[in-house]
Amino acid sequence: MSNAVIRKTLISLAVAGAATLAQADVVIGVAGPHTGAYAAFGEQMWKGAEKAAADLNAAGGINGEMIKLVKADDACEPKQAVSIANRLVDSDGALAVVGHFCSSSSIPASRIYEEGGVLMVTPASTNPTLTDQGLPNVFRVCGRDDQQGDVAASYIVDQLGAKRVAVIHDKDTYGKGLADATKATLNAYGIQEVMYEGLTRGEKDFNALITKIRSVDADVVYFGGLHSEAGPLVRQLREQGSKAIFISGDGIVSDEFVSVAGSPEYVDGVLMTFGAPPSSYPSGKKVIGEFRAAGYEPEGYTLYSYTAMQIVAAALGNNDLDPIKGAEWLQSNSINTVMGKKDFDEKGDLTVSDYVMYQWNAQGKYNQVN
């Protein structure tokens, strides 16, 4: 290739680059575990955000600019979360991020977004530290683990009347935080847990731990963690003949929980805390219907991600695409979303938490407990 040709190619590449910049669009990152053991949650986030972006674009985008989503994969690893956060801020030029999923990823990434002046709305990270850090740019459209732990603990005490509770966690920010929150409320009720231990994420054999649960004769096992460990845990618990009631949090809200457990019979009766069901939001009916028409059940955090995207769009749209002004604006304005009207307090938490108890049945589905 002659020099002239190379030069021409380079120039045309540069022009092409400039052209993409010119129709620059509003770049929004969707950061979560798109690969790895927790990829099912990444998919929920992506489906929700993708649909929201498509709907918003169809209605004219944000102030006439089209939304362009960038998929950022943190695999639920804190280190990777920091590096993709840097990438979103520096090279992708994202104005806002919907994410991350795991609290252990969201917390370190939130500081990068703060430095870069990027608005962050997480649909799923429930660890209290995330908003307690006092960063002005961080919001979440889910509840907090201290609220979730309250709901779980009062259910254990009031509804189940349990006395012997074993508390297990996965040693990760989310899992341990949730287990600690539940334990704190249980202790406040005057119930001392009979066992408090951690397991290792990624392992599949929990038999030794379960024999120990059997030996302390627990009637409730509370687990703070995600479905990939909860599945084998509950299965091995049943295989060892324990009838203890298994309760967990929003980390198991995926139908993958059933396949990881081996069969629906093992998840039958498992309780979990999660936000109020989508059917309680009349404003979400249309979107849910469209999801189902497209052959996708908007389970778990799908609608939360849709909501997060709407909040990002509202914040940017009402403030000339300025994420910092948008963050300030969010603290004093309420936004209509598919999950009803959302208001934020000065920390970035929702003013109303709506955790309720769900129960898995023998068909491998979950329903709200009345």
Binding site: H34, T35, G36, A37, A39, A40, E43, K171, E197, G198, L199, T200, G202, E203, K204, D205, N207, A208, L209, T211, K212, R214, S215, H227, S228, G231, P232, R235, Q236, E239, Q240, G241, E256, S259, V260, A261, G262, S263
Partner: protein
């Protein structure tokens, strides 16, 4: 009392599986002096093949459990053995006469390739296989009971059988004699007419087959796996191999059992948070006292 016995049962089954995988590390190290870091991922590949084999067999209308398990074992061991052969052919044989470091890097590369290949072809999600064998034997001990599920019994039986057959092959057959000769002195063995490349290939195939045995058993028992599942178990099995004395076949089995038992007993009687800390402290302690592992031969400098 019942709890201690139950933990022994838990540890024994876990340990026998570690032992099966450790065989792959130890045999490869014994014969060409390299640590095959892709071995954990060979185990992971076998978990996927297990699921595919079960799906295939049920698709053809086979429902009886013994036929499914025998068919799955046969298919998975064969296909995984083929993987072992190909990996050696592609990633290690071209580097046979280069420095140990290049082979090590090649092994790490192979491990990444396998993980990414499975992730791309099978998806990044958690996978599961349905439970095929349920039920358990229970013994009452004092107030409580000790139980061993039929699946765990099967794990113990098949892994003992696998180890027994392998020991026989290595000790008594012509193939085993060739392996041992190659291990002792590769150059001399090849001068005496042993096709050492072929022997090394065979060792990789045997290692992969043992990992496949463990893959089938664990996948049927726990039911859940993903493309990253080989990492932790690979590290544990490697630890077991080092503990027992890397290069020694009975050492790998012994190391696996010790590691499994120590994990189960420590997690069950003291704390599961620190079980890995305990296992690895044990490893350090044993290596301080016996630097070449429990049954390993001290390295003799060849002159």
């Amino acid at each position: 009392m019942d709890i201690v016995l139950q933990q022994l049962v838990n540890g024994l089954t876990l340990g026998s599986v570690y032992g099966l995988i450790a065989i792959g590390y130890t045999m490869v190290y014994g014969i060409i002096g390299m640590i095959n870091f892709a071995h954990g991922d060979v185990y992971m590949v076998s978990a996927y093949i297990t699921a595919i084999a079960i799906a295939l067999l049920t698709f053809f209308g086979i429902e009886s459990f013994p036929i499914i398990i025998i068919g799955t074992l046969f298919l998975t061991v064969a296909v995984t053995g083929a993987y072992g052969w190909v990996i050696e052919r592609v990633a290690y044989r071209p580097l046979r006469n280069s420095s140990r470091l290049s082979v090590l890097i090649s092994a790490i590369g192979m491990s990444l390739i396998l993980q990414n290949y499975v992730q791309l072809s099978q998806g990044a999600n958690q996978q599961g296989v349905p439970t095929l064998l349920t039920g358990a034997i229970r013994f009452s001990v004092g107030d409580g009971f000790v139980q061993i599920t039929y699946m765990k019994l099967l794990i113990l039986l098949i892994s003992l059988l696998g180890m027994g057959v392998l020991t026989y092959v290595i000790q008594k057959t012509k193939l085993g004699r060739m392996c041992r000769a190659t291990q002792q002195d590769r150059k001399m063995a090849s001068i005496l007419g042993i096709d050492t490349d072929k022997v090394i290939s065979t060792v990789f195939v045997i290692g992969a087959m043992m990992a496949a045995l463990a893959g089938v058993l664990i996948t049927l028992d726990y039911g859940a796996f993903d493309f990253y599942v080989g990492f932790i178990i690979g590290i544990k099995a490697f630890t077991a191999a080092v503990l027992g004395g890397i290069g020694s076949l009975p050492g790998a089995m012994l190391g696996g059992l010790i590691l499994g038992l120590s994990e189960a007993l420590f997690a069950g009687l003291i704390s599961s948070d620190y079980k890995d800390v305990f296992s690895f402290s044990l490893l350090v302690l044993i290596l301080i006292i016996r630097p070449s592992g429990l049954l390993g031969k001290p390295e003799v400098e060849k002159v």
